[in-house]
Amino acid sequence: MLHSVMESVRQVIPIPAVVQSPNVLEDTVIQRDIEVFVGFTGHAYGRIVIQGECKTFSKLGEFMYGMPLEGDILHSFVGELANMVAGNTSILISNKGITIDITPPTVMVEKLHLHGYERGISVPVQFENVGEINIILLLQNQGDG
């Protein structure tokens, strides 16, 4: 599934990027300027999280849509970015016979404590002239939490 998530990130964000090697998430605290969660259920159960600095997301928005974003509209863009990454992931994995449904995004600007997931994998992605964001995949066994 991580492979499909990363493929989806490449599709949604058409900016040259260096994808670093995945880390197993050990820390249960996420602290960046802003992070967004999209839950998924169905054949797989968990969350996709995207986190980074506001200025990085603002630049991403500028590269993708031609305008720098700030405030509420930046938060909304970050939410929609996660929606698009999760949505396109669902399309990619449906080709492998895996069906998931996704939740609307939750955008957060505070420190987060993560509990109740089985496995977490974090992948830093460095976008050319933009900056780094982290893509995190949290997987739970179905029926948990």
């Binding site: 949604v12 993708m64 849509y65 974003l69 509420d72 509209i73 909304s76 863009f77 939410g79 929609e80 929606n83 698009m84 990454v85 999760a86 949505g87 396109n88 669902s90 399309i91 449906s94 069906t99 449904d101 996704i102 939740t103 609307p104 995004p105």
Partner: protein, 120 residues
């Protein structure tokens, strides 16, 4: 020029669609951030077409399409969603949507869909 109702939970996406549709010469008569609001606004505004997101809180888009179609079987609805697996497209079309655009999209794709759906 056609009257459009834009339905999406993300203000950012509503803004993007509004820019594109206005550039294409259409008049945005309303916006809704979930399916329930969409049904209500459709009833009041009677737009020529609707762009409808799927993943939204309160009520998702396919359910909203079904309900709008009950009140107006001729409603022109274009799905505009980040999810777009074959099974979902089939569901949306069966619910009564006339086209399906997967996000992220290009401006031309949106305007082409509107032309197609309005039969112009």
């Amino acid at each position: 020029m056609a009257k459009v109702l834009i339905v999406d939970d993300a203000a950012f996406m509503r803004m993007m669609l509004k820019n594109i549709l206005q550039k294409g010469g259409h008049e945005v008569v309303g916006e809704a951030e979930n399916g329930l609001m969409a049904i209500e606004k459709y009833r009041n505004l009677i737009p020529d077409f609707v762009t409808m997101d799927i993943t939204m809180p309160v009520m998702e888009g396919i359910e909203a399409v079904k309900q709008i179609k009950v009140s107006d079987p001729n409603a022109n609805i274009i799905m505009c969603s980040a999810m777009g697996q074959q099974s979902l497209i089939v569901q949306a079309i069966q619910a009564g949507a006339k086209d399906f655009i997967v996000k992220p999209f290009h401006e031309e794709r949106v305007l082409e869909s509107v032309r197609k759906v309005l039969g112009a």
